[in-house]
Amino acid sequence: MSLLDIRAISVRFGGVHALEQVTMNLNPGEILGLIGPNGAGKTTMLRVITGVVKANHGEVQLEGELLNTLPIHVRVRKGLGCAQQLVRPFREMTLAENVALAAGAKHTQYPWQSLFRVERMEALRESRNWLAKVGIEDAADSYPEAVPLGYLKRMEVARALAIRPRMLLLDEPLAGLNQAEATTFADILFELNRQGQAILLIEHNLAEVRRICSRLVVLDNGRKIAEGSPETVLKQSSVQEAYIGQGNLNAEN
């Protein structure tokens, strides 16, 4: 059975079809690349999965359970760990505190009970392990303003991991990083996946996507235009056309 099942999702913003009848799935232990040119609907798809955007049509299921009507925080607690495109750390907290807040999910599930839960050391210790996992434990006590973007991107992944999600949803984690940083980060994601973490990766860096993803789904103008292994998908003319345009393709040929 798939971990995540997306069935015939359609989203309209006014007259614009952001997604049209898109069906895709994520298998357990898989790292799936969701790619496509700007405006293809990738981020909208991620928002439909997390519940930020409501689909006009279709279903999202996590291990057979329908998520459509559930609010964002419930979906997250059911196993969606999400790192957003633009980094959004809590700026008044250190990186370790950022991650510890997620690691202490059991303390925060019932708001009234959280008033009587004081002990934070365990979550802070755990947060260091997550930061170590993405290679930035040296900055655990730094505030977000004092560390480079690459660190914040990794902190976001550590924070998403700290809720022990069944799947990670990553929206352009490599954007804004130089090639060396991107390669290091992609290696970390690959290693996480090797340890069994299912990942849905939205990414523009096709070299890294090709390197680490086991399967790709390509969107263009809100429609799914291809699906399969990176080698076959990236060779398809419809995919190349979507990325570099019909005219350029003709010129190249």
Partner: protein, 288 residues
């Protein structure tokens, strides 16, 4: 001596009022420009009940409950609107409250409620009661701060969308902040009504909401001790120096401007800048 006791009692009540707003605005980041409406709900409820021969403490609790219930309704608005829109919404709450009490004869209309019964504790006894309430409110604030609830409030105050993405039930936490803050405002109102023994709509005018907000902002949004210090100063100064009372609006307006321009962290932020070392341990041990 009687005057000093009365002054001290009034000061302690204003500390409860500003700490109650500090829970909503300082801890949870939800701006409220109409907080005195909840002080008013507590004051009217408690005083009308004691006038109807309800025991004082029962009336006080009823005032807290009713203020808290209305607070949750306003909190529901905070789930829909944010930032400056929330500020304007809560400002509207203050005017709605005033509009209602001015027009309702059973609430005393423009004349308000007078001859509020003496709780029968004596001046010193009443001061002790109010002091006890301050201690409880401070302890509650400290407990929230050091607990996971305070941790979540801090996150919501920073970025509520991200807080949701970490699986936090932001809506419910915000409603709790409103419920706690507004019921404590109701407590301040009940105490105030039985301290001055006469209330009328202008006691809860918009400028009073700004006064409470000024105490929170000048003290340092979210800092328990800073807010207490600012409320003590801002409530005592106009009483001690008549000329300050005459220029109260000017003083509060000027202070708000000066704090925002020169020390957005208020007195607490100011202290942190001048005594970084001492403030750090203070923040860790006391505020966290």
């Amino acid at each position: 001596m009687g005057y000093e006791i009365s002054l001290l009692t009034a000061m302690l009540i204003s500390i409860i009022g500003s700490l109650s707003l500090n829970l909503i605005t300082g801890f949870c980041g939800q701006v409220s420009l109409g907080h005195v409406a909840f002080v008013g709900i507590g004051a009217y409820t408690a005083s009308l009940l004691t006038k109807a021969t309800t025991p004082f403490f029962a009336a006080l609790v009823a005032g807290m409950l009713l203020a808290g219930i209305f607070g949750v309704f306003v909190g529901l608005a905070s789930l829909r609107v944010r930032h400056d829109f929330l500020a304007i919404t809560t400002m509207g709450v203050n005017f709605v409250f005033l509009g209602v009490v001015r027009q309702q004869d059973w609430l005393g209309g423009e004349l308000g409620v007078s001859s509020i019964p003496d709780p029968g504790l004596g001046k010193l006894g009443f001061l002790a009661l109010v002091f006890g309430c301050v201690v409880l409110v401070v302890l509650l604030s400290m407990q929230i701060r050091r607990s996971w609830m305070g941790y979540v409030f801090e996150a919501i105050s920073g970025d509520e969308d991200t807080a949701r993405m970490l699986g936090l039930d932001v809506s419910r936490y915000k409603l709790i902040a409103f419920a706690l803050g507004t019921s404590l405002a109701g407590l301040a109102g009940g105490l105030y009504a039985h301290h001055v023994r006469f209330i009328y709509p202008d006691s809860f005018a918009f400028v009073e909401s700004i006064t409470i907000l000024a105490m929170v902002v000048v003290g340092g949004n979210g800092s328990i001790w800073g807010v207490m210090l600012a409320s003590a100063l801002l409530s005592l100064l106009p009483q001690w120096f008549q000329f300050i009372d005459d220029y109260k609006l000017l003083l509060y307006g000027g202070l708000l401007f000066a704090v925002m321009r020169f020390s957005p962290g208020g007195l607490a932020g100011f202290a942190q800048r001048w005594f970084p070392q001492s403030q750090k341990s203070f923040t860790l041990e006391v505020d966290k």
